[in-house]
Symmetry: C2
Subunit: 411 residues, 2 copies
Amino acid sequence: MGAEQKMTMKPFGELTPRIKALEIIDSHIKPIEGTEKVPIGDSNGRVLAEEVVAGFDVPPFPRASMDGYAVKAKDTEGATEENPLVLKLIGVQHTGGVFHGTVNDGECLEIATGAPMPAGADAVVMVEYTRKDGEKVLIERPVVPSRNMAEAGDDMKTGTHVLSEGETITPGVIGALAALGYIEVEVYRKPRVAIYSSGPEIAPQGQALKPGQIYDINSYTLATVIEANGGIAVVCGIVEDTVESIKESLSTASGHDLWVVSGGSSVGTKDLFSEVMEEMGTVYFHGVKTKPGKPTLFGEVDGTPMFGMPGYPTSCLNNSYVYLMPALRKMARLEAKHWVKVKLPMGHEMISKSDREQFITVRIEEGRAYRVYKQSGDITSMTHADGFIILPIGTNKADEGEVVEVTLLHV
Amino acid sequence: MGAEQKMTMKPFGELTPRIKALEIIDSHIKPIEGTEKVPIGDSNGRVLAEEVVAGFDVPPFPRASMDGYAVKAKDTEGATEENPLVLKLIGVQHTGGVFHGTVNDGECLEIATGAPMPAGADAVVMVEYTRKDGEKVLIERPVVPSRNMAEAGDDMKTGTHVLSEGETITPGVIGALAALGYIEVEVYRKPRVAIYSSGPEIAPQGQALKPGQIYDINSYTLATVIEANGGIAVVCGIVEDTVESIKESLSTASGHDLWVVSGGSSVGTKDLFSEVMEEMGTVYFHGVKTKPGKPTLFGEVDGTPMFGMPGYPTSCLNNSYVYLMPALRKMARLEAKHWVKVKLPMGHEMISKSDREQFITVRIEEGRAYRVYKQSGDITSMTHADGFIILPIGTNKADEGEVVEVTLLHV
């Protein structure tokens, strides 16, 4: 055995329950302070880093909100279909132009939706309630002042608050920015997340597998979850299982906002990561009381929070939803992920024993939940899952027909 | 009046109810047939255009799924903490390598999670249930064959179906593709959508507004909704209100999968679009029985489906959710949008009279829904909305405290 004697294959210490782990993570994650300008057309889903105040009235002028005739409202009093009132047509107001005349008593102006209201008029009669006869217009219904028109600034008034710093940008927000003439908008920059895979068995795609090797899965699934939750994934490659290689990878932490490695946080003899992490930084917890994904680690190196994710692909992806996503979204100033949950009966009896809280992937078929029966090493247990059920500690089964809460993964 | 006499400011004909309009749209929209290859890391949310069959076993070899000792299961029968069985340690199997010896009767091999199982062994005893004493290992619990290990192909077997053409790609799907060594994957291409704004009052951002002008809002909101629903937004600019300019814009339809204009589909005298559309193609409906957004048009030019959206920003954005999104998602082969709906009491009495089905935007505050009181021309009625309520035809109010269904816009 010789050289192997130095190895210490030791079990995990006390496992950290999920809620406690999330509290620890939360206490060490700070929202990004840096900002950048982006074109408003690229800003959907970003977070506003500036307050937006209306620089001018929107609309900038009083305008018709219906096609019809701009009138003095008092001139329409008492109009009916049987006894229409007659107004003199003085012209036409298209959108985009300005009519320079004034609507006087007994007069009207043909006007299109969105066109500026002419001086003198205070309401619009919809075209549906009129008849045109040469230069006369027969008004068949009365209107009150301000009817079928908007005042300047009805949407946004000059100087008023429109959007708050910290708001997440939506299509409706982009619409308001566009209305105010914005071309670019100041947003918080996205957290840059370094992603490493570790383990001598991990091979990059594009080369043939040698005996004992498997392809890198976790770099891809982590990058996907990170990009979908407001981060920039910086895929850094595969770390060798040597102290030097691990130190080199950890030394990049300070250049990123978050640092993630998968694999290397189990208790195998060659799992050096946690030792080097302890040496170079601080490990806040190592080992969580959830299944799959026990070998999950959280700490800090050079002021950058770091996650050690499980090497098993399903465990890694599961815990990227459970632990990494909340951290990243807080950092990116996004609201907590809105998981959609549905209550469904189990399609069969399911027994799963563990002293940890369990995340069990399920398919949904004809309104019933069926376990995706796979081991935690099997990525297809996530590939074919519609969602997951959480079994709390102490619960090891669900009966056929029992109503369970399924958290949907893909809506 | 002179030249103005040719104009016909006519009301809409019969309005098409929403369900009927959606049926008409659906009958003219075909899913995209073209495909393209994309890197798997960029494929999240795309739609698979190929079946994926496992080209090799995953895992490619039998492997340990726990840290511990590879054994012959029969050698552990009867082992207890008080009376452990003793096995001879013949070496160590790290991940990434291959142990070339064989585990014979009475022997064991130290093995790490994910490492290939050695010849002769058929189970793994977890390290937690062992003690090491030099070259002896004390086994404190029995295992049955196959315990704590996976066979080659347990996740995916060579030649078996893994993913179907038409599946939407998720992080779990990307994981399966990565496991199978994919670098790129064949997906359906995204529909290219031409976006025009029309109306002489529309000015591009970046230039000062002239009297009677407003900035282009709809190009931005339409592009955002299109990009968020599987399309490529091709913003084509502002169309002038002339027959030539409209014809020129419509002539680009055949170069796109879908063609959208906002404005120009109302009944104003200068709204020439529908006439030119009728001339150059087919209009299937013009005018929908929903509020806001009555002046919505759907047709076809040169085989390309086309939408005429309302010019009013809120109406345009509302109807891009209601009418355009379902068409685009079908074209992009994505599932129907999963709207999250919540039931909440109204925070106040709300009266809104219309003979059309009404979409009413609301804010949610302390668990109650409050109408965003704005006119349909006001983009901020969408900017500040958390969701909308649908009032069916014939319903013109909701009482304070009445439980209404709110469709959430931003989850």
